[in-house]
Amino acid sequence: MTVLNRRTLIKIGGAAAALPLLGGAAFAQEKLKVAFVLIGTPDDNGWNFGHDTGRKYMLDKIGADKVETTVVTNVAEGPDSERVFRELAQQGHKLIYATSFGFGDYVHKVAKQFPDVKFEWATGNATAANVSTYNAKFHEGRAVVGTIAGMMTKTNTIAYIGSFPIPEVRMGINAYAIAARKVNPEVKIKVVYVDSWFDPAKEADAARALIDQGVDVITQHTDGPAALQVAEERGIVGGFGQGADMSAFAPKAHLTAIIDNWGPHYVKSVQSVLDGTWAEGSVWDGISSGEVEIGKYNEKIPADVVAAAEKVKNDISAGTLHPFAGPIKDNAGTERVAAGDIIDDGEFWAVDWYAEGVEA
């Protein structure tokens, strides 16, 4: 039943007005509607900013004549997200990006109801006929910044502000610690969790507390630049941008950044939907394919440190260096990875220990 009200009248009017166009428009390709569901807002200058930058890059490359995008921000990881996914699918979006782990259960639920809509779940761990996952090997970037931190620290105490003790964060800590201790066996790594992906007040408090304990290089695994701003204010050696270049917030303290470059993946996956070649799969790229980039080096970093960092980056890219190559001991002294062995992608997610030198 159609209720006649102003809205439907406008719709009918619009449809009538569009009728003469029908002949010509039938040949033009309909625009692909693509949606991005974010856990925060793009102005966090970190994780969500990275995805939104990727979206703009994709729009630019594919062209606004072929694709249109919808961004939904601040979606809670829970049943609320299920509603958002269903809403987007009902509105005719054919490709939906769920950009946080906690969306997974609901992506899979909604995907079953809309078999012709493709879903991509960032950092996810389960696929289905119309659900793919994509992720980036951020820990490769951590190995680069860990090298810089290990060489630059004067107090031999560096820190990692984590969000939650989940494998992805834990492996970021381990990659950072292993790389730092490779260039400086004296270094200690203090870890603080703030129980949030974005809580500038807590991140800043954590940074202050760490600096008071003698930390002079901080990196963070949260979505914003709050810790860097504290580092700038307190004049310590520095910190690193996470997810995006954050040098604007801390020109002196910002040593370099691990930049999530989602753009190329978005271009590839949108194009595959346009071409009809999209397939269930799981993408996990890193430095070598450009998904993880290292930003500009601050000019205060000595040349030998830059060279060492570049070497780590290039070796990871070439495949001659693996961030988790053995021998690796945990912080209780137990050998976890034997010499000549590495933690491969399958074992990665099961890691529940910290590398030597980590105080968590």
């Binding site: 939904v72 990881e77 299920e82 509603r83 809403e87 987007l88 906690g102 494998p167 529940d352």
Partner: protein, 346 residues
Amino acid sequence: MLYATPVAAVLITMVLGALIFTLLGYDGLGAVREIFFTPLTNPYKWQDLAVKASPLVIIAVGLAVSYRANVWNIGAEGQYIVGAVAGTGVALLTYDMTGPWILPLMLLAGIAGGAAYAAIPAFLRTQFKVNEILTTLMLTYVSVQLLNYLVFGPWKSPTSMGQPQTVLFSADQSLPYVIPGTIVQLGTPIAILVAILVWFVMSRSVFGFQVRVVGASPAAARYGGFSANRTVWLALLVSGGLAGLAGILEAAGPFGRLVPQFPTNYGFTAIIVAFLGRLNPLGALLAGIILAITFVGGEVAQTTIALPFAAVGIFQAMMLFLLLAGDVLVRYRIRRVANEPARASA
């Protein structure tokens, strides 16, 4: 007049909202249309309203009882979390078992958990005269830590690849769907039942009378032989128990497991619902639906007219503010006094 203010508050919110967002450069009328009307006119959205309103209604009904008794339970969010934790505890203990008795047992555990958590402020208030506003609020933060400890630690699913979450509840531990083909689960009929039941108790029983008398006039209540302490206990146990029930219904329903993201502020939003519903259980039912409309509509507005997420919060806050302001203006008469002769002219 008292029942006209909520309606007026909602209407003025729409007008002001349209105005503000037009001035900010958005489609203000479109915002009001998408937030307040699309969820009602689009039948696809009705199931979402039911899912979103159910926990709000159950918690708000409990809060209505508590606030009527002049007991200010601000920590329904904490009782909601502990209820979910208690019910989940039962679910994990019975994970390998089957039977129709499991779900009712989980719900009872949820109620008991929420009530037990509210018993702490009740004890402190009746024994040591500790202000329950502070204790209930602060215990909310404690409950979040408890939840995190459990899902990051002992309750973490062995198959979650290190992610903090419990196992997915089994079929016998999950709420059944009551309307086939939709996402409406048993929580919705329970919410309606709770509202009607509590309305009946509050308006037709001695208990309800006692709560209202103690709340309205403690001296008269004492004269009438009603124990103030007993009322404090009952108010907190009822509101805590209902918040706990909402918690386990949410965990065993839409969530399907316990995760760190479980707290979604239903306990705090329900305070708005309780007041918008005039502290009347049936009013809370209507008010819960209105708040659910703003949530669901807020997402529609984001996707269709790119209204920022914060807009929903602005609309909700405006509603509560206008309601409270309306109450003041309804109860008091404004009189001009400037022309009266000054008295202290000595």
